[in-house]
């Protein structure tokens, strides 16, 4: 059995409790004391006493600091304000940085584009999708130029196709081309063709080769005949060509030697 000793901590604990709202710095100790105050075992009491004794040693010379709630609150508010300020400053800095980058990008883009007046004309004209026939003479010239340009571009890259915009501008010294989403259109067309190919000739359709189809009759005749395309004429074309050339050369050589 451990003997109970009257603990000095009890009194300050109760004193703190009586005061009402204990100061923040001593809150922890008070709680500690409160918790330990309830159980009646003395084992826990000893280290607390020591702590208290140590703490008491420090504060023995002075009176414990009395912190009012108001001051503590004021400090807390200061703290919060400081944090808020710093966050705001960070945000503004970031915003400014982003703004500057945006402006830089816009400027770069502007440098890449055509001058403003031409762009305006293009957007107001809009894409016309009715291709007029090359009957009229003026437009015949235009059409020819467009075709020549298109042929030029076609020869460079056969896959890329450009969508033409109806001609704009008074002077006919250039042709404006606009790259529309021709790739999307091509992709859809390819998908459509693939769908038809798949549904007619794809897996699951009951298709057969022409040879088998035409040979069906031959199989049922009383005297069975060979298949319709029995000979594969495309077999060994290179070999046959080489043989022909060799034969010609051999004949010439033979003629020469026989003449001699």
């Amino acid at each position: 059995m451990v003997q109970l000793r009257p603990r000095a901590s009890r009194i300050p604990a109760s004193a703190m409790v009586e005061e009402g709202q204990p100061p923040s710095e001593e809150e922890e100790e008070a709680e500690h004391g409160l918790l330990l105050g309830q159980p009646s075992s003395g084992a826990a009491a000893e280290p607390l006493e020591e702590e208290d004794e140590e703490g008491d040693d420090e504060f023995d010379d002075e009176a414990p600091e009395e912190l009012t709630f108001a001051s503590a609150q004021a400090e807390a508010r200061e703290e919060e304000r400081r944090v808020r300020e710093s966050v705001r400053r960070d945000k503004t800095l970031l915003k400014e940085k982003r703004k500057r980058r945006e402006e830089l990008f816009i400027e770069q883009k502007k440098r890449k584009l055509l001058p403003d007046n031409i762009l305006e004309k293009l957007t107001t004209a809009g894409p016309t999708n009715i291709k007029k026939p090359p009957g009229k003479l003026k437009e015949a010239n235009l059409q020819k130029k467009k075709e020549e340009y298109e042929k030029g571009s076609d020869s460079q890259n056969a896959k890329e196709r450009v969508q033409k915009v109806q001609f704009v501008g008074q002077n006919k010294s250039y042709v404006a081309l606009r790259l529309k989403d021709q790739d999307l259109r091509d992709a859809r067309q390819q998908a459509a063709k693939a769908f038809i190919q798949n549904s007619l000739y794809g897996p699951g359709t009951n298709r057969t080769t022409i040879n088998k189809f035409l040979s069906l009759e031959n199989k049922r005749l009383p005297v069975k005949k060979a298949a319709a395309q029995f000979l594969n004429n495309a077999w060994g074309t290179q070999k046959k060509q080489n043989a022909k050339r060799f034969k010609r050369r051999w004949m010439v050589r033979k003629m020469k030697t026989s003449k001699k």
């Binding site: 291709k131 026939p133 020819k144 007619l200 699951g204 359709t205 298709r207 057969t208 189809f213």
Partner: protein, 686 residues
């Protein structure tokens, strides 16, 4: 007649393209046929089924739908997403309107002819208004989940049936919303992994919707309740097309096996008023998929991947049971694709995207009648000329001396100069061709190869003088009055004075080239001209029409010749008039002015004007008389038409010199051997 050595040519690897869509116009009795290479051809069914016009194709224009609108306007739509209107007078494309829905799969004209409905890849059905000079987008209907593959208007114009993948929707035109959605079984009373594609729908006036799908079923739906009424399983493969007659008592469907079925509305018992649809006749005229069918008042028309166009008149609808009621199968082209240079024995073959130049082989052997002589030098493939660009070649020609080749596409005209040194040839292109030469319908060189005649699709005729590496435009004959009836044909006289051109409703015009003015006009005939030629020395113009009539007109005298009047009075032999295919080429013998050599796809004939004409009782197709027969019998049976059917099917036949003929054949088996795969047919015992 004389003895000839015949160059029998079979190395022209001509493959026609498959037929994709067929549209029949009732008012003018014309048929528009579109092929997989983008060509649209117009056949005149009342002019002996002659192909009178065609619009050359384009690589990107894969048409999926074709229809006639009010006022003889032809529209087509394809996988490039554009609706194209064709100008039948100027023979070019009026305009192309982008529907902005992706690839277009189907198109239908409203019964009144004023609205156009288009079914697109993204599932939208778009309504267009047909205005006098173009079409205008009106509105979209409700968008569906999958692509709209077939469309059909109700005869009153209030509802539209649209077939898609696995379901059919019925739309109300006024509101544009889908009234019913009928789900189609994937397989007849079974389950299948493959989606059921509704290839065709037809809307009848009593509210029945007929659908044909890829499971081989023909189904009848009631559009008021949206339920299935009747189900017919007719094939093991897809049923790909449907066409209903105007009276709505019969319709025709085409299957992927090549069979065409005729359904008719017959009464249940002989005196009851209740009727039902019964499958009456199967026709097997095709070997491959029948992708397009049409129903005219008297005939069933079908066309498919095997490139034949088959017109089957229905016996119960035909009034007069004569040869007109026979089956017509159009396989070979109705115009010339081969030109010949007689001096150098060269042949120029025209394909859709390239030209081939071949030199004929030669032989030194001789033999009797009917022998095959061995070649001492094989035929040589000299040149393979590919065209630039995606457009198809419209026409081509080689000059008689063999040093100029010219061909034309819709947007450009090409002229090449050929140089021959020893055994090599070199090609040089003449650049900067004038713009008015493009889209030429017919090109012809004069006999001395100094002049080039070009008939453009505007109707004008250009005369160009050819110089050593360049050309000079001499004159243009402006189009005369009269509508364009058919494609222009040209003929030039061997002495270079006269030029004849046909194609307008005004008749055949003859121009004087020396004085560059119109000389005379042959009176017009109500059938289009299929071949034209001017004889040497006598300058008689021989014209062959699509109803197998042959006229001879003397140009210096400006009137029909005596022989022509005699034969018109007597009339041609009935077997001559019953031939199926038109005469595509006429030529003459240089030393025998009484002979005319002409050919069609299945025979060639030498008309000897000095011999008596056959009447209906004599045998037209005289076999070669045996030599031991007496002279008297031979004289009795001899008549003017010497016909030989040894070489067929003939694409071209011409006289190279006095003793040599060249015959270009194209056996049907060689065409079939290069077609896409057909549906497998299971036969017992194989």
């Amino acid at each position: 007649m004389g003895e000839f050595k015949v160059h029998r040519v079979r190395f022209f690897n001509y493959i026609p393209s498959g037929i994709r869509c067929v549209a029949y116009n009732n008012q003018s009795n014309r048929l528009a046929v579109s092929r997989t290479d983008g060509t649209v051809e117009i056949y005149n069914l009342s002019a002996n089924y002659f192909q009178e016009k065609f619009f050359p194709g384009h690589e990107s224009r894969a048409t999926e739908a074709l229809c006639w609108a009010k006022g003889q306007r032809l529209f087509s739509a394809g996988l490039n997403g554009e609706i194209i209107e064709y100008d039948l007078q100027a023979l070019n494309i009026k305009y192309a309107v982008d529907a902005f829905g992706g690839p277009i799969w189907s198109m239908a004209v409203s019964p009144h002819g004023s609205q156009l409905l288009v079914g697109c890849e993204d599932g939208s059905v778009k309504l267009f208004q047909i205005t006098p000079d173009k079409i205008q987008f009106e509105r979209n209907f409700d968008r569906q989940k999958s692509r709209i593959l077939s469309l059909s208007w109700h005869p009153s114009g209030t509802h539209v049936a649209a077939g898609s993948i696995d379901y059919i929707s019925v739309f109300d035109v006024k509101s544009g919303s889908a009234v019913h959605k009928m789900l189609v079984d994937r397989q007849y009373m079974g389950v299948s992994k493959r989606k059921c594609i509704i290839w065709g729908v037809a809307f009848l006036s009593d509210g029945t919707v007929i659908s044909v799908d890829s499971a081989g079923k023909v189904q009848f739906w009631d559009s008021a309740t949206g339920t299935l009424v009747k189900n017919h399983l007719i094939a093991n493969a897809d049923v790909q097309s449907i066409a209903v007659s105007d009276q709505e008592d019969s319709f025709v469907v085409g299957t992927a096996e090549g069979t065409v079925f005729h359904f008719q509305l017959v009464s249940v018992t002989s005196n009851s008023s209740e009727k039902q649809w019964v499958r009456t006749k199967p026709f097997q005229h095709h070997t491959h998929d029948v992708r397009a069918v049409a129903h005219s008042p008297t005939a069933l028309i079908s066309g498919g991947t095997d490139t034949h166009l088959v017109i089957r008149p229905l016996m119960e609808k035909v009034e007069v049971k004569n040869y007109d009621a026979a089956l017509r199968k159009i396989t070979f082209p109705h115009r010339r694709l081969i030109s010949c240079s007689k001096k150098r024995q060269l042949l120029l073959f025209q394909f859709t995207h390239h030209l081939e130049l071949w030199r004929l082989g030669s032989t030194v052997a001789t033999g009797k009648n009917g022998d095959t002589l061995p070649l001492s030098r094989d035929a040589d493939h000299l040149l393979h000329l590919k065209t630039k660009g995606p457009e198809n070649i419209i026409c081509s020609c080689i000059s008689p001396c063999g040093s100029w080749i010219a061909y034309s596409t819709t947007s450009r005209f090409f002229l090449y100069r050929l140089n021959y040194e020893h055994d090599n040839i070199s090609l040089q292109r003449v650049s900067k061709m004038p713009a008015f030469l493009r889209s030429a319908l017919q090109i012809l060189f004069s006999e001395d190869s100094a002049k080039l005649f070009v008939a453009s699709n505007q109707g004008s005729l250009h005369v160009i003088r050819l110089l050593e590496g360049s050309f000079k435009h001499l004159h243009t004959f402006q189009p005369q009055s009269g509508t364009v009836e058919s494609m222009c044909l040209l003929a030039v006289s061997p002495d270079g004075n006269w030029l004849a051109s046909s194609g307008t409703s005004a008749g055949v015009h003859v121009y004087n080239i020396k004085h560059l003015k119109l000389h005379c006009t042959v009176p017009s005939y109500n059938f289009p001209v299929t071949a034209l030629a001017i004889a040497p020395n006598t300058n008689n113009l021989v014209i062959a029409h699509s109803d197998q009539q042959v006229f001879e007109y003397s140009i210096p005298d400006k009137q029909y010749t005596e022989w022509s009047r005699t034969i018109q009075k007597q009339g041609f032999h009935y077997l001559w008039l019953q031939r199926d295919t038109p005469i595509t080429h006429i030529s003459f013998h240089p030393k025998r002015p009484m002979h005319i050599l002409l050919h069609d796809a299945y025979m060639f004939c030498i008309i000897d004007k000095s011999l008596p004409l056959p009447n209906d009782k004599t045998l037209l197709y005289n076999p070669l008389p045996p030599t031991n027969e007496s002279d008297v019998i031979r004289r009795r049976t001899a008549h003017a038409f010497k016909i030989s059917k040894i070489y067929k099917p003939l694409l071209f036949m011409d006289l190279l010199d006095e003793r040599t003929l060249v015959a270009v054949e194209r056996p049907l088996d060689d065409i079939i051997a290069q077609l896409p795969p057909p549906i497998k047919k299971k036969k017992f015992g194989t």
